[in-house]
Symmetry: C2
Subunit: 486 residues, 2 copies
């Protein structure tokens, strides 16, 4: 079920899609090429055709055409993925959601929005601004909501508001055979049968095509930010643990390692020492912040934190967080023509310090520069390598170190991917992480919902021996990517 | 797939289970009778045998025996369910988790506990007390954690901490064919493949037998409670909406209708007027509470709230919440020999006031007394009828009104069950709520994981025409139940 049946009838599908969609079905090379890649280091692979549906009914008809012609169907959102989830590894139809960009309904009293899959998260939040509400999941990139559903995205403020699974109330999904189903609903909770919503969230388009999404919204919080440096990574992590256990309403807490702090100081100086550093955001009115500030400062001091500083005012806060957002891009600039390869493991917080320390030791042995940033409130961190794509030895080295990072995370009870998804990059680890029997259950679910294996084949599941191997990136095929938002 | 294959070999299964478990496999009438029922109004149905496994390996062997002999396998936790989920509607094996009662691991820094399925939630919280952490999901009853997983439980403080789906990090599950799989893990988030954890949560034992559960814990909050009466139900609900949209950290908010306030005042007077009343709990230090108190009091006053009062001290707070907990038991006492039948719908909050008002109008037409309580922060409420089990006309009347309540909730975009599960009682509504095609996807998942239909047959899915109908309660078979904790 990991691949489409043999001999897809691409020509038949292309003809049928042209009849259905006219110039919204394209085989132009430039358009196919744009849909052959995402922002990851994974090798591009061209789809046979790209389609731009505007309605659910069109998606359903596209799915029926794919089934009739036994051709792969691969959803494409904003193309901001970091593990190759949208790359049509077996060719076929790339189904682009950019024309499904309507915000269908905003219900302020219910704190709910219903959107089409192609709506970008920043567009949604701009539209919501006057309501005092926002959609909190923030993977950095201006991803499409449908793509974020597929990947099971999260980001810096998941520690406060949860990940996509906690913020998607319902979906409209087109099944492999072209049926339209609605999962979940407008109620904030339900015990009515199987939770299909959360089965589709994170399924990377392998179980159905997401057409509409019902989202939970949250009141825009009052927020105050702060920063501190720590003598060791362990001290920084221990600070996070203590703040969380004290029940302090933390909105974000981001670890930036010493080498990346040095990059920031070279590009947009904040006066930080080159130490493991925490970027904090706390939620509450100024009155509430003043009520917690003493406790926060005590915990930071207990762990040897220095240079602790509250940000004052909107402009200082904006500039402060901008350094976090741009730091990896600056690091990439410092190595011209490099491409970035981010790991994405998540471990229990009690293991986070030792896992990060071991990762730092790995970096120290590497000829490829790398930096660590982490959504440490969740135990999630990224070790981001900046490698020379012209040097196969560097790719081999990064692949080796990335494998060590993933193996270490799984051994610590963690996961190979906290928020980027399995895509092409973590397939080799999925059995190690979940075990053969759990993987078999996933395969059974996949076979039940996609019996012909047409939905985003080659993703999530490890390649079977008989699979076509064309989806494996070759060492020389890494593209010059843009820096990932992680 | 809604029922076991014909001709289960009960005798063969009983012999094999006796060999495996000795006196922990029982066909004694008293024990079978105890496992024939839960706390709902649904008709009892005897299992053929009750087993008390002590290890996962025993559960796996029991599953293999059930499969070999094509006999139903039905999990039984604390027996506190309210929709018949644990009733062996087709006989077979009742698998009792009471000897799977070990708290396996508490990881305070990770804010995680790992427990066997039979651990009761109050036992867990008593064990956790010294850590400053607790497991927040509180359905009222001292349910087993495994049962709460099966039902997808929630309760009064879900508005703050979420429901079971948000608080279960991972599971160990025995599949129908006796394999042991582990889902999720110790990381607080993951995007590594299908979310099997949340597929099993709320699946009511129809996809696998839950053996172990990894839970998220939370810091025990500082809390302050308050109460106010409102001129109308709509004013009470509007107050909740405004408090939530203001981002005030609400821990619980419970609606108690005027008739139930009158009951409370007859049994444990709080000096409340017989008005729609909100019981509040806010989270924060005394300093933080003082920072929000003015806003709360203003919102309450804006909606005509009267008799607003902050609870002072632990004893007053304890007694206050005890009235909420015992109110329905007192109401039941006021009608001797009655049994209770709670509805359990959940609707978008913008529809809550009109749906509750229509329900009040239904109650006014009914000869059966009923009261409304609601976890209104989530849009979830219960209309609890106290009916005379000796009077079939009353059961018919309640069934008719319950149907109206469910139909109204679904029409409002809500759900037939916010937290009690489908069990036997909501099967007739599942297709109306989700649609035929989504139900077909659920059936496909069920068939993939339980091809012989042995796991808790007769639950969740509507009965098929060819099904044995013995699981339908007859009007005269209602048992004298104890009052539900809702």
């Amino acid at each position: 079920m990991n691949r489409p049946l043999s001999r897809p009838d691409a020509a038949g599908a292309i003809a049928a899609l042209g009849s259905l969609l006219g110039d919204r079905a394209s085989t132009a090379t430039a358009i196919r090429d744009h849909h052959a890649r995402d922002e990851s280091h994974h090798a591009a692979h061209l789809p046979d055709i790209v389609v731009f549906p505007e309605t659910i009914e069109e998606i359903a008809e596209i799915a029926r055409i794919a089934t009739l012609h036994r051709i792969a169907l691969v959803p494409f959102g904003a193309g901001t993925g970091l593990e190759g989830g949208a790359i049509p590894a077996f060719g076929g139809i790339s189904i682009d959601s950019s024309r499904l960009d309507r915000i269908l309904e905003i219900r302020p009293d219910d704190m709910i929005a219903r959107v089409e899959a192609g709506v970008r998260r920043q567009t949604l939040n701009a539209t919501l601004r006057d309501t005092g509400l926002f959609f909190p999941v923030d993977p950095g990139a201006d991803a499409s909501i449908g793509g974020m559903v597929g990947t099971g995205a999260s980001g810096t403020n998941a520690v406060r508001f949860g990940v996509m699974r906690e913020n998607v109330l319902g979906l409209t999904v087109v099944t492999a055979d072209g049926k339209v189903i609605r999962t979940g609903g407008l109620a904030r909770k339900s015990s009515a049968g199987y939770d299909l919503t959360r089965l589709f969230v994170g399924s990377e388009g392998t179980l159905g095509i997401v057409a509409e999404v019902t989202l939970r919204l949250h009141p825009i919080p009052d927020a105050t930010s702060a920063v501190a440096g720590f003598p060791t990574l362990a001290a920084a992590v221990a600070t996070v643990t203590d703040i969380k256990r004290a029940g302090i309403p933390i909105g974000r807490v981001e670890l930036v390692d010493d080498s990346l702090v040095a990059v920031i100081e070279r590009h947009s100086p904040l006066g930080l020492d080159a130490l493991p550093t925490l970027y904090f955001e706390f939620h509450g009115t100024p009155h509430e912040i003043s009520a917690i500030s003493e406790t926060v400062e005590e915990i930071v001091a207990d762990h040897g934190g220095t240079n602790f500083r509250w940000m004052r005012g909107a402009e200082e806060t904006r500039k402060f967080w901008e350094t976090r957002r741009l730091a990896l891009a600056w690091a990439k600039q410092e190595r011209p023509a490099s491409v970035s390869w981010p790991s994405d493991v998540c471990v229990p917080i009690s293991k986070l310090a030792e896992v990060i320390l071991a990762t730092k030791a790995d970096i120290a042995t590497s000829s490829v520069p790398a930096h660590i940033v982490g959504h440490v409130g969740d135990g999630n961190f990224h070790c981001v390598f900046m490698l020379d794509p012209a040097n196969p030895a560097e790719e081999a080295e990064v692949a080796r170190l990335n494998d060590r990072i993933v193996a270490r995370a799984i051994a610590a009870g963690g996961t190979s991917t906290g928020e980027h998804g399995v895509g092409l990059g973590k397939r080799a680890w999925i059995e190690t992480e979940h075990g053969a029997d759990a993987l078999e259950v996933m395969r059974a679910v996949k076979a039940a919902l996609d019996p012909f294996g047409l939905l985003n084949p080659g993703k999530i599941f490890p390649a079977l021996p008989e699979d076509d191997q064309t989806d494996h990136p070759s060492p020389t095929s890494i593209r010059g990517n843009i820096p990932p938002c992680v």
